[in-house]
């Protein structure tokens, strides 16, 4: 069993199930902050998927996209919390 087959049949299905579970919380979440945290986790899982795909296809250039995703996740969460705070004070 080569490493590419292992990635195709074990790692990618696990990460796919993970994305589905987080999407359930994203649609169900009773509060807005639940959805923000679910979105943050979703982008983090996106970084993981890009990394695994980059290993599987032997293309190291995809890691640049993962780095930008890490930046966007941090800025998105900070912006959401900033504007939710502002909305509360009004």
């Amino acid at each position: 069993m080569t490493l590419n087959l292992y990635f195709d049949y074990v790692i990618f299905p696990i990460l796919t199930v993970t994305v589905i579970l987080v999407f359930i919380r994203l649609f169900k979440g009773p509060e807005l902050v639940d959805r923000v945290v679910a979105l943050d986790l979703l982008i983090t899982i996106g970084i993981a998927l890009i990394t695994v795909y980059s290993i599987r296809s032997a293309e190291a250039i995809f890691l640049d996209v993962a780095m930008i995703f890490a930046l966007i996740a941090f800025l998105g969460t900070i912006a959401f919390s900033f504007y939710l705070d502002k909305q509360e004070k009004k």
């Binding site: 902050v33 945290v37 890691l63 996740a73 509360e88």
Partner: protein
Amino acid sequence: MTSILIAIVSTIGSLAILFASIGILRMPDFYLRLSVTVKASTLGVGLLLACAAYVFPDASVTTKALSIVFFLILTTPVAAHMIGRTAYHTGVAKWKGTFIDELDDLSDKKEDGSPDNQDHAAPNREI
């Protein structure tokens, strides 16, 4: 040998991310969801990026992967702290099993304007 090592480490990383997603679905409270999500997902992504740093023989790719891990470890707790503080100030309900709320005492003291040492000396923990 190398491929077996990569398979083991990537399996541990993807299982950590799976546990984070099960936690965000099953935990009863926003704060517990936040606590379980941030740590486990950071561990999982860190292990997968360590796999990527080990697979590619190029030094620039290794540096890139390690910088992503460093950036994630640096920024994820800050974002989690900020969104948790926003949730507390917005008034998101706690789980009924949570009985220690240290921020509640502080906010009461600020509203009164007079700091009383009675509560500070003996915090009442009602189970």
